[in-house]
Amino acid sequence: MLLDVRDLSLRIGTVGLLDGLSFSVDRGEVLGLVGESGSGKSLTALALTGLAARMGATITAGSVVFDGTDLVGLKESAYRRLRGKRIGFITQNPMSALDALVTIGDQVDQVSRLHLGLSKRAARAHTVEILSRLRIPEAEVVARAYPHNLSGGMKQRVVIAMALAADPDLIIADEPTTALDVTVQAQIVMMLADLVRKRDLGLILITHDMSVVAQICDKVCVLYAGRVAESGPVRQIFAAPRHPYTEALIGCIPRDGMAPGSLRGIPGTVAAVSQYGADCCRFAPRCCRADALCSTQQPLPVATGTGGMLACHHPVDTPVTEAADADDR
């Protein structure tokens, strides 16, 4: 396994933000990390890249095993040799990820000069090759351009090129297409997935959009308020979601032939971190299947038959009446 995260917990001050996360990605695999804003997706990405400590966060339990080495407790100097070199990172907003005063070529060159020790000339050749592989027309010309000369879609390709420049083994992409137009989003997402499979890399795709997950991911891990609600193979999860939250997230996307009024959304919002309960299901206040048990006892993640996990007292495929019985006991 390329990356194996087990029971990862993290806190800032006295507030526990991530609570026992487990998931894994192998080479050639795309893992979708899904959830609403405030579910802990981006913080997980920061924890994996060793950047969470800079926000004052401490990993309190668990392990992050990357290619056989546990990264928890790794020194900053050691992390620096990993970040950008073996773990590439693609940020949400290409407009702020690029330096406005440095040419595209110089920005991408920096990565391969630093991590691969290439000469100036070799680095540029490498950059042009990556840019053209990302289907940027006239890559030599674009390399001499500044970020403001490029469209949003082009800039996001450049950010992807920077993540690829040092030939990483794992790429973490944090909502890489949220800032882009629909037609461009489709291009970029398909290209990224294709690239990962061809070069046998691992990809963690962070998104709040279940339709993106359905289209490109192999596995999905659904987060809610810092905990894993459900995980498993994409086909399995979409064919038969078992956590009410997963089912509701899929139901939030309008589809052809949907009757007017059938799109309901999920009532309420993710609880603020300060209101996180410990011994309860954090989704309970918004859940249509919740009962007294859900607000007094945390549903512990249980391995499912398909290699995934489920943390729910009353999964979708159990009758609601049974749930009501459980609450009498």
């Binding site: 609403e36 804003s37 469209s151 949003g152 879609g153 082009m154 137009d181 629909v182 037609t183 461009v184 989003q185 489709a186 291009q187 997402v189 398909m190 709040h208 959009d209 279940m210 339709s211 993106v212 359905a214 289209q215 994409v234 086909r235 979409f238 064919a239 509701a248 997230l249 899929i250 139901g251 939030c252 996307i253 309008p254 589809r255 052809d256 032939g257 949907m258 007017p260 009024g261 799109l263 309901r264 959304g265 999920i266 009532p267 919002t269």
Partner: protein, 323 residues
Amino acid sequence: MQMTADAVPVLELDGLVRTFTTGGGLLRKGRSMTAVSDVSLRVAAGDIVGVVGESGCGKSTLARLAMRLIDPSAGRVLFEGRDVTQDHGARLRPLRKKLQMVFQDPYSSLDPRFTLRECLLEPFAALGETAPPGRVEALLDQVGLDRSFAGAYPHQLSGGQRQRVGIARALAYRPEVVVLDEPTASLDVSIQAQIIALLQELHRTSGLTYLFISHDLGLVRYFCTRIVVMYLGSVVEEMADPDAAPRHPYTAALMGSSFVPDPTERAQIVPLEGEIPSPFALPPGCPFAPRCPRVQDRCRTSRPALTQTTGASKVACFNPVEA
């Protein structure tokens, strides 16, 4: 509600054009671009008209023209049959009560120093009027916010709650038409669905008419009763039936680029190549020609007009997709 042929539409846009000029100075001529080029649209009472397109297609400019927030370079805006194109300032005030807008970003469209009560009373204060007693509470009820929020400030609310306030403020005067400029674009999908459900509910209970601006064709097809597709300032297709198959290759491409939340339907995705050309250097002929998979020679030299296909649907294409 179906519009009969002779009924006066509540909102009518007639041949609207808007050009913008940038740069330039004493010695240098500025460059000009046409953000909206000859757009006509009739919105009947009770309609939900969706205007869909990518960034830069002119949909937000069209919304601002319809709202009379900016002046058109040519064309007319008619409200309930009356030409309001020449009205400005005080003469527009009666229109403001009937035509309201919900903005895209609920973070920047609410004053951070106003409580929700002040925010909802502002439309009345702006026109020098006093709100009827209980109006704030009624508005909060209408958009599904607890009355206790009246004293809260925007920073205490989530994005979805803020957008509910944005909607409540637009409803303050019981308008007839509400222009919705990407009201869910900055929200999570789960919250987007909540807001759409609320807008549907308000449409049903208050008999509102919507002009809904969006980049999301899937959402527009679900929510709207009629769809207008824009590309680089022009209408390329008008669909009287939102469930109809697209005729314009661009609409077809938009639909092909939308991700379906079903892993068993992966093969159907056909991403559109290339990007939107710069509006400062529009290609001659059809603006979509450089990206079009069905392009013919004449598309590059002459521009197809918007022509009727079946029923009230129209398409601007020499070689449309077969129905």
